[in-house]
């Protein structure tokens, strides 16, 4: 960047070209007030508060829009500036209710602060008409009052520029301008997704969190920084509490990685924390009924039972399901409990059911089984390839990064069976048939190789196995793929060229890729594509799986998987095992443990006798619910440690009430490998305890003392046994999380992987033969059913179904079906239908939409009232796993029938 020198208030500053006067002033602690400015938005120049005097300029200029120039002479405090600024502020105040004494924003109002600092006393001559009032809106989350609106446009702009929802826009003009919804309807009726981004940027109380009203001013409440407990992005949140609990959640602009942005769940879906349904005491099943018990009784009961079962059937008759919802420390303890206390490697967690192929595929080819690059790099990519990931709903804040990138000129390619939101802004939309991802990716590579668009130097220097790949994809002509995937040959060729010609191309994929019995082949194909084009090991590129749960990443890396201790250290490695045995002071099992899928199969067959489930509603999340239920019923002991009486908990023999993310300390690792702090903000209900505490106490009760007095002490142990985490300690991540690998405390963390070399020396192409293995449709089951996430709910819904807004926006389940098929079946929009597969049936409401292609239907899996997994397939096609522990059920595809409910 070229340097320029400019003078501000008589002092000379050197800075880079391309910055605004405001930015440079603020960097140098020169205060220029603003009202319409928000770093996340394009400069607007509307409030006129940041006006400064620039020598030689015809007019005063807005410092938020004026770019610095060589030799520029700026005065931010001249008489003219102050006189004008005051005049403008007086104008604003002349159209304001000035009811600060009762206003919610008092203490956190930018207008109030400015009036105070500018010493405005009385506004005499501008006592004219005032405009606006409260806008009645039946949405439960966002309060709107135009009287307090200063028309700075921040809400309108964040909705348009950042969210790109365009739910609000200025209506009317001049003095009568106001922030309007289409046709004056409620925010519930338009394109608003209730993210509350508008509230977050409102400088006054014109927009405010309804749930926080009357619960205390900003200076009366406690504010604690923590990490969001929903998806895997790890948004930094500030939890505001009063004596009754959480009153609202905000985020600070500049926070990493979300820069102050939050989605509807992150901002508003916290009602569950203080919900009366929370489990607040241990329970033991007595004569078939769950009865309240003391912790001592519960521990004794479990301890005795586990010991009995262990001695009767052996350690491997016991299985542990850890949780991508819990902290790193808790996952670490859970695996330690399984291995050291019980002596089994039967430890896994539900993120495996989403990303086992990721762990295996990426690890085998590249070295680490995880995301290569960072969230902030998405906006630096020239081309973004999104496949099998409905990002704007499942990972909304990454969705914002993609939207931002496209807005700034990046090219987006979307491949999805559904016409997801991102397809609207994609340059190329590949509307592929379900289960044909690998065909498509191979066809892309076929074009890239045929047209010699690959990165020869990269392949030569950094990879092996190219020849095999070349051979394997030679037959996967785009013409053939056209027939299989349903995408025109030319479109495939275009997409291949766009991807290959990019300087930096990134791949973002989700469960649409992994949750197939041949998910490993899909992942391998994507890795091949990235390697082929040299898009690994550089900024703005990479292959990035979008894990689903807040700490799925941590659950994997803390060793809550059968094959690895923490930091992906293989249990099969004798030296590794020896190291852990020394630290755990017991001998550890060397046999391969069961993966979650196998645990249920074995329980079904009666081989697994006890299961300890922490923070997972497996009955909702595992495929083929009927079979899972049977498996649970077979158990001699089911321990469920959760925050609600989930579907699974209803089958438990012991229930241990746990603390939720807002009630405990610890760390989560986000999707980009960033270890971030979670902080205790409120106390758990009743006798509920943090999971780490429960595990420690239970272990102690079982004669394996765990005397951790805080999550930090657990983390210190993790550091000592996990090289890639050794450099991360609580002090270092007090403000901003650090991305592993981070081998020592001077290491800054790793933004993107493989800059120097690959984990295994060279990256490996894994030539894949594409296969089709999904359940075939027939006369009785003519539809292909797929399942997935929506924006408003999370996983099994125990949290979001107890939250205002989520329920209001999406109260019940639905099946997406095309108009054509709806006509065939004879159903109208919102009519009740029955969906039947070879495993079960559910009834729900029809949602006729062009998001799904004909002969395909789609159901969200968040609803207990219509459990999608009653329909899905539980068995995995082990032949595709090649024995490399990526057993993956065929979640995403099954044959189904749709009938009108009579």
């Amino acid at each position: 960047m070229e340097k320029v020198k400019l003078t501000i208030n008589g002092k000379t500053y050197e800075t880079e070209q391309g910055k605004t006067v405001l930015e440079v002033a603020r960097e140098n602690n020169i205060s220029i007030p603003t009202l319409c400015y928000d770093k996340r938005l394009d400069p607007y120049g509307g409030c006129r508060i940041c006006l400064v005097e620039v020598e030689g300029a015809r007019q005063l200029v807005t410092s938020c829009t004026a770019m610095v120039g060589e030799g520029m002479v700026v005065n931010t405090e001249s008489e003219k500036v102050i006189r004008t600024r005051k005049g403008v502020l007086e104008y604003i105040l002349s159209d304001h209710p000035l009811d600060c004494m009762t206003c919610e924003a008092t203490g956190c109002c930018e207008l109030q602060d400015l009036a105070y600092t500018m010493d405005i006393k009385g506004i005499d001559y501008r006592s004219g008409e005032k405009i606006g009032g409260v806008i009645p809106d039946r949405n439960e989350l966002i309060y709107r009052e135009t009287g307090k609106c200063i028309r700075c446009g921040r809400c309108v702009r964040i909705c348009g520029e950042v969210q790109q929802d365009y739910a609000i826009e200025f209506g009317g003009r001049g003095f009568k301008m106001w922030v309007a919804t289409p046709f004056g309807e409620s925010l519930l009726d338009g394109s608003c997704v209730l993210c509350g981004q508008c509230v977050s940027t409102c400088p006054t109380a014109a927009l405010f969190e309804k749930k926080a009203m009357g619960k205390g001013r900003s200076f009366q409440v406690k504010k604690v920084r923590s990490t969001c407990g929903y998806c895997s992005i790890g948004c930094q949140i500030d939890i505001h509490t009063n004596h009754n609990g959480i009153i609202k959640i905000t985020s600070e602009v500049g926070a990493v990685p979300n820069n102050g942005n939050l989605c509807m769940k992150g901002r508003f879906a916290y009602d569950f924390v203080n919900h009366p349904d929370r489990l607040d005491t241990p329970m033991i099943r007595v004569n078939g009924n769950l009865e309240k018990a003391s912790w001592e009784d519960a521990y004794d009961f479990i301890s005795k039972k586990l010991k009995d079962i262990k001695s009767k059937y052996g350690s491997d008759s016991i299985s542990f399901i850890s949780s991508g919802r819990c902290t790193n420390e808790e996952n670490y303890l859970m695996q330690k409990f399984a291995r050291a206390v019980i002596g089994t490697n039967n430890i896994d967690q539900s993120e495996t059911e989403c990303h086992a192929p990721t762990l295996t595929g990426l690890r085998n080819s590249l070295g680490f089984g995880t995301t290569t690059n960072s969230i902030e790099e998405i906006s630096k990519s020239d081309v973004i390839f999104v496949i099998g990931a409905n990002i704007t709903e499942a990972h909304p804040i990454i969705g914002l990064e993609v939207k931002k990138a496209v807005r700034n000129g990046s090219t987006l390619i979307v491949a999805d069976t559904r016409r997801i939101w991102l397809s609207k802004i994609a340059k190329t939309y590949l509307n592929l048939q379900p289960g044909t991802d690998a065909y498509l990716i191979n066809a892309l590579m076929n074009v890239i190789i045929k047209e010699k668009l690959y990165d020869e130097k990269f392949i030569e220097g950094k990879t092996e196995g190219f020849k095999e790949l070349e051979k394997a994809v030679a037959k996967d002509e785009p013409k053939e793929a056209e027939g299989l995937c349903g995408i025109p040959e030319e479109t495939i060729k275009d997409a291949a060229r766009i991807f290959a010609n990019a300087k930096r191309a990134t791949i973002l994929y989700g469960n649409g890729i992994t949750q197939h019995s041949f998910g490993i082949d899909n992942v391998n194909s994507l890795v091949n594509l990235a390697l082929l084009t040299g898009n690994i090991g550089k900024e703005g590129a990479g292959i990035n799986p979008l894990l689903g749960q807040n700490n799925g990443q941590g659950a994997f890396s803390m060793g809550a998987v059968p094959g690895f201790y923490s930091d992906y250290q293989p249990v099969s490695d004798r030296a590794v095992r020896k190291k852990f045995e020394e630290i755990y002071k017991v001998s550890l099992p060397k046999n391969k443990g069961l993966q979650i899928r196998e645990m249920f199969n074995n329980a079904y067959k009666g081989k697994v006798k006890a299961m300890y489930v922490m923070g997972a509603d497996v009955l909702m999340s595992e495929p083929d619910t009927t079979r899972v239920k049977k498996a649970l019923e077979n158990l001699e002991l089911l321990i469920v440690q959760d925050i609600f009486m989930s579907n699974t908990a209803q089958y438990a023999d012991v229930i241990l009430p746990a603390a939720c993310f807002a009630e405990k300390d610890g760390t989560f690792t986000n999707i980009e490998r960033r270890v971030q702090r979670v902080r205790k903000t409120v106390s758990p209900p009743g006798e509920a305890k943090a999971d780490w505490k429960i595990i420690s106490e239970l272990a102690t009760c079982m004669d394996y003392p765990m005397d951790y007095n805080s999550p930090e002490t657990i983390w210190e142990e993790i550091r000592t046994v996990s090289q890639n985490f050794a450099g991360i300690n609580y002090k270092r991540i007090e403000n901003v999380g650090i991305q592993w690998p981070c081998p020592d405390t001077n290491h800054p963390g790793t933004k993107f992987l493989y800059e120097e070399e690959f984990g295994n020396g060279k990256a490996r192409f894994s030539a894949t033969e594409v296969k089709s293995s999904h359940e075939k449709t027939d006369k009785n089951y003519p539809f292909i059913l797929s399942t997935g996430r929506t924006l408003y709910h999370f996983n099994s819904g125990t949290m979001t179904h107890r939250t205002k807004g989520s329920v209001q926006k999406q109260p019940y389940s639905f099946v997406e079906i095309s108009q054509e098929d709806a006509d065939d079946v004879g159903i109208k929009d919102e009519e009740m239908v029955r969906i039947t597969t070879r495993r079960g049936q559910i009834t729900l409401s029809a949602n006729i939409t062009n998001r799904v292609m004909p002969k395909q239907i789609w159901i969200p899996f968040h609803f207990v009232s219509a459990q999608a997994n009653l329909l899905t397939i539980g068995s995995c096609n082990a032949t595709h796993s090649k024995g490399n522990s990526s057993l993956m059920p065929e979640y995403k595809i099954c044959a189904a029938r749709v009938e009108k409910l009579q």
């Binding site: 004026a66 004008t84 600024r85 005049g87 104008y91 003009r173 003095f175």
Partner: protein, 545 residues
């Protein structure tokens, strides 16, 4: 169906044919079919047609539907040539008499003639309103049928673009326009050639040219008249500009309240396309350019360049701070040149006759002519084109015929809501961009409203402030709230409820609004207030007493 012109020779050949057609030995009846429609021109036209049919005079008489002939005060107007008489206030009843007397027998009907100082002046060339004007931009307006491209071509139409394409480089064109001294006629008076040069030099393959036809000043109708009366001149001006800048696509942003202008433009564009004067490989030169009309939705502020661009992009029409200037980042972020209608209509004549010839009119600071829309308390309201440097007195008294009745001239409001009131003491001021500014008004787009001794200047200030208040987009605080508060104060004073401090308050509010507003609308909104306070303080004081 018109035949596509494949080369310059084709154009020349066509012109010869068109000239022949025009020369045909017929009596021509020119009927203004644009503004005069408001007072019955269509009916008059219909009657003429019917009568000529009935009387079998079609071969001897040709009716030409023209644009504005200028003297709107006499609407509906017609000109009959030969003998060259000008009639106003023509009614359907009198059409048979006009045909029998004037058309057939060259006899003048006295009651239809223009009267000045009690004297009838039958012939157009003798009427001071016409004889004292210099029609350069309006050379075709009121004379040709705007819906007939042949008549434009017959009068050297599209010769300039042909000349540009085959004899000039884009740089030559820019230099010619720079040499001509032409300045933007939309109000700001920025040198046109320089503006083109900025856009030419801006980086980018795709560039746009926009014609700003969002004329909105109260009382101004110059651009409407040009679009209605001579649309091809604007199209040709855009073609030359596009060639100079390196643009392949243009937009005409015209307000939806100008249906006749839109209609004539649509037809003109269609005809130009048929003749291959728009589209690909124009006249076989390899140059491609096409045009699209975008209708404004009734916001005055969309005359501001950046708001206009936002509006074309489909966004809410609100201005944004500059830089970046549209020349570097305009429509959809591409380099964009925006010129006003009248500016573009000047271009063909500059290229055709050269900059030297163009500069023979006007002053050093303002070359060429300027069209004014003469309105208010003046006898000859209408459309007037005079060389720059003409005095207000010449326009209002010599051409405009002075103030009706026995009242006195009090002031002329120039430049619309952004302008100011020029009092009698400056009647002999030669008008150009700078001189008008010095006396507290602006040249503006050409609105000229005459006020007589009965006019209340506070009322005028209030009127214009009300206009700005209504038209403020609302984006920036000083314009949104400032115009409201100033309007409230003016209303209070005008209603006799003013207080002594109100004038000082007004001045302070004017200062803040001028200094802090984002775009020209707010920055100039206080001008009418300040100029009336400057020249007519007594009227304020009388109301406050």
């Amino acid at each position: 169906m018109l035949k596509s012109l494949k080369s310059y020779d084709d154009l020349v050949a066509m012109r010869t044919l068109c000239e022949e057609k025009l020369k045909l030995d017929k009596v021509k009846v020119y009927i203004c079919m644009t503004g005069c429609r408001a007072l019955g021109a269509e009916e008059v036209y219909g009657e003429f047609k019917r009568q000529l049919d009935e009387q079998n005079l079609k071969d001897k008489v040709e009716i030409i539907e023209t644009g504005c002939q200028g003297l709107c005060a006499r609407a509906p107007v017609i000109t009959i040539d030969p003998p060259g008489v000008f009639y106003g206030r023509v009614t359907v009843d009198i059409v048979p008499e006009i045909i029998s007397s004037t058309v057939v027998n060259d006899q003048v009907i006295n009651k239809l003639c223009y009267v000045e100082a009690g004297k009838r002046i039958p012939y157009l060339k003798d009427i001071p309103f016409y004889s004292k004007q210099k029609k350069v931009v309006l050379r075709n307006c009121g004379i040709i049928d705007p819906n007939n491209i042949e008549q434009y071509i017959a009068r050297k139409g599209y010769e300039s673009i042909a000349k540009a394409l085959f004899s000039f480089t884009p740089e030559d064109i820019i230099n010619e326009v720079k040499d001509s001294g032409l300045r933007g006629r939309g109000g700001a008076g920025f040198p046109t050639g320089t503006k083109w040069e900025f856009c030419r030099k801006a980086k980018g393959d795709t560039k746009y040219i926009i014609c700003n036809a969002d004329e909105g000043d109260p009382g101004a109708f110059m651009d409407r008249a040009v679009l209605e009366g001579d649309p091809h001149a604007v199209i040709e001006g855009m073609l030359v500009a596009a060639f100079a800048i390196g643009s392949g696509k243009g937009f005409i942003y015209v307000r939806a309240e100008y249906p006749i202008a839109i209609n004539h433009l649509e037809r003109a564009i269609a005809q130009a396309r048929q003749l291959n004067l728009l589209g690909d490989n124009i006249l076989g030169s390899g140059f491609n350019f096409d045009l699209e009309i975008k209708k404004g939705a009734g916001a005055f502020v969309c005359g501001e360049e950046t708001a206009l661009i936002a509006s074309i992009e489909g966004k809410r029409g609100m201005p944004r701070p500059r830089p970046p200037f549209p020349a570097n980042s305009g429509l959809w972020g591409k380099p964009t040149n925006i010129n006003n209608v009248e500016t573009l209509a000047n271009i063909p004549i500059i290229i055709l006759n050269g900059s030297e010839s163009y500069k023979q009119y006007g002053t050093k600071n303002g070359t060429g002519t300027k069209i004014f829309a003469l309105a208010g308390k003046v006898k000859n309201t209408g459309l007037v084109e005079v060389p720059m440097g003409t005095t207000l007195r010449e326009i209002i008294f010599d051409i405009g015929g002075g103030i009706p009745g026995r009242r006195q001239f009090k002031a002329a409001q120039m430049g619309g809501p952004s302008g100011g009131c020029v009092p009698a003491e400056h009647l002999d001021l030669p008008i150009d961009y700078e001189t008008v500014k010095e006396v507290g008004a602006i040249m503006g787009s050409g609105g000229l409203i005459v006020m007589d001794s009965d006019t209340s200047m506070v009322e005028i200030a209030k009127y214009f402030m009300g206009f700005c208040h209504d038209e403020s987009c609302g984006k920036c605080v000083p314009c949104r709230i400032g115009t409201k508060r100033m309007l409230e104060t003016l209303t209070k004073i005008n209603g006799g409820n003013g207080l002594k401090d109100d004038i000082e308050d007004l001045k302070e509010m004017a200062y803040v609004t001028q200094t802090a507003s984002l775009c020209g609308l707010g920055q100039t909104a206080p001008n009418p207030v300040l100029s009336t306070i400057r020249y007519f303080m007594n009227e304020y004081e009388e109301l406050i007493k």
